[in-house]
């Protein structure tokens, strides 16, 4: 009986070991996906730092003014509600007689101070980065939204990188044109190259997200 007991104990021990290892392994993988890993992992820490750089650009006025949770876009560095009573409309393109493209053409119109880019429109509500009181959402929440493929148009990590590299309306943020008074609109806090580099580091780290506060 003693020999059987030892065998049982060994098997239970191995079982527990296997479960633990699996659980740790899966948790770690899961951590890459939903940000619950400990930031003490250096690659993870770097990825999270890169995310904070990406977040700083996403929440700058040139980007976040069209990622609203409301029925309207914002404008200006103070992100006030866009004038002329423009509204989101069913597809984020405005409404008949007051479409985004009623004023915003495919390029900046510096002589009249109206910014422009191809297919000017609002980001869909699934890509909102503010709440309904126009307050910017936290880094954890925005990261969760950006990495949720059911909300972000199906983009995975490489897809997000490409989006940041080449999407025309994203590129517009670094060529935002002049205001009606002739002054240049403020640029995001990083250059486009820095933004892409940060995105790449973040993607290579597995697009980690910070823990929700």
């Amino acid at each position: 009986m003693l020999a059987n007991h030892r065998l049982v104990v060994r098997r239970v021990f191995l079982f527990i070991l296997a479960v633990s290892v699996s659980w740790i392994a899966l948790s770690t993988v899961g951590a890459f996906r939903n940000g619950k890993a400990s930031p003490t992992d250096p690659k993870l820490a770097d990825g999270l730092a890169a995310w904070e750089q990406v977040y700083s650009v996403l929440t700058s006025p040139r980007c976040i003014n069209c990622h609203t949770a409301t029925n309207y876009p914002q404008q200006g560095d103070d992100r006030h509600r866009h004038f002329a009573n423009v509204v989101r409309g069913p597809e984020g393109k405005g409404v008949p007689a007051l479409n985004c493209v009623s004023c915003h053409q495919s390029e900046n119109a510096d002589s009249t101070g109206v910014p422009g880019g191809p297919n000017w429109h609002l980001a869909p509500l699934s890509m909102r980065w503010q709440d309904t009181n126009d307050q910017i959402l936290s880094s954890a929440v925005v990261c969760g939204a950006v990495t949720d493929r059911s909300k972000n148009n199906g983009l995975d990590g490489p897809g997000l990188l490409k989006h940041h590299e080449a999407e025309p309306l994203v590129l517009w943020a670094w060529n935002p044109g002049t205001r009606p008074d002739g002054t240049m609109r403020a640029l995001p806090p990083l250059t486009h190259a820095e933004f892409v580099a940060a995105t790449r580091r973040w993607v290579e780290a597995g697009t980690p997200c910070p823990r929700s506060k």
Partner: protein
């Protein structure tokens, strides 16, 4: 007797003219009557001069039947372009569908009867011109009936008028357009009977505005649409605060823009604090942007005065 009213630009009226037909140039009735006023125009009179308005300055019957009525006010949406012609057309028993309104040119005859200047404002259009336009309509009607009565050898009170047609006692009938030239030779009655309000066909009834079509197809001209040969346009750059004065201006960028002729400072009123900057151009664009200051590097200094507390 000397005529007491003076007309500035009216080529049809002379100082001693009486009833006169002006059919040559435009055709139809242009009733030109000039009535002598007792003691009017003399300084120091106690009683205000009684004003008489010659219908010819206000009503023109065209041979095609159209009735062109001059409106002695500016129409800016309040509706006088429609309501004053309504008043005249009602007393005149005119066919409303043939009425055309025109904004009157600058002339003394179009002055506000109470205020004595040609203007619009103070809610005075109907208040001051209601009686005036009623009398004009009634007088024109009386002259048309007189012409018809002559033609038919009957008396005026045997005739009736409705919808731009005069009817006689024996089934005679004549349109206003046919009678216009003869009516022009009749004397303008001094007194006319005005309608009892129960007889109004237009006043107090719903009619469509006469200015709608032109305002709905872009043909209505507004002040900004005016263009005269050699015309220049000025835009004004105001200080951003009350009491500010221009401290310095760098207009080199503004002057480089095609069409900009000059940039200068000009006092609007002596001893006032605000000194606007004027930019004179030959076309509207891009001048409409210049006062925003982007192309005129202006700085203002605030001048505290004793008159304002800032």
């Amino acid at each position: 007797m000397r005529p007491a009213l003076k007309f500035v630009d009216d080529a049809h009226l002379t100082r001693r003219s009486f009833l006169r037909a002006s059919a040559a140039a435009t055709g139809g009735l242009l009733v030109s009557l000039y009535l002598d006023l007792p003691a009017a125009g003399q300084e120091g009179n106690q009683a205000p001069p009684q004003k008489v308005y010659p219908p010819d300055a206000f009503v023109h019957l065209r041979p095609d039947g159209k009735i062109v009525i001059q409106v002695n006010r500016l129409e800016f949406g309040q509706g006088v372009y429609t309501s004053l012609p309504m008043i005249l057309a009602d007393e005149m028993d005119a066919d409303w569908s043939q009425v055309v309104a025109e904004l009157a040119p600058a002339a003394d005859v179009y002055k506000d009867p109470l205020f004595g200047i040609q203007m619009v404002g103070g809610s005075g259009s109907i208040a001051h011109s209601f009686q005036q336009y009623r009398e004009l309509g009634a007088k024109t009607r009386a002259m048309l009936i007189a012409a018809a009565a002559d033609r038919w050898h009957v008396t005026p009170d045997q005739c009736r008028a409705a919808n731009s047609v005069v009817s006689g006692p024996g089934n005679q009938s004549a349109r206003y357009a046919e009678l216009a030239n003869d009516a022009a030779r009749k004397s303008m009655p001094e007194n006319v009977r005005l309608k009892n309000p129960s007889e109004f066909r237009l006043i107090g009834k719903r009619v469509r505005r006469l200015d709608s079509p032109a305002k709905c197809d872009g043909s209505q001209k507004f002040g900004l649409d005016l263009e005269l040969p050699g015309m220049k346009i000025a835009v004004i750059a105001h200080p951003p605060v009350f009491g500010g004065r221009v401290k310095s201006v760098n207009d080199s960028e503004a002057r480089k823009i095609g069409g900009v002729r000059d940039v200068f400072e000009k006092n609007l009123l002596a001893r006032r604090a605000t000194l606007p900057l004027r930019v004179v151009m030959t076309r509207q664009w891009p001048g409409s942007l210049l006062p925003t200051g982007s192309l005129l590097n202006m700085s203002f200094r605030i001048w505290h005065t004793h008159q304002w507390s800032l």
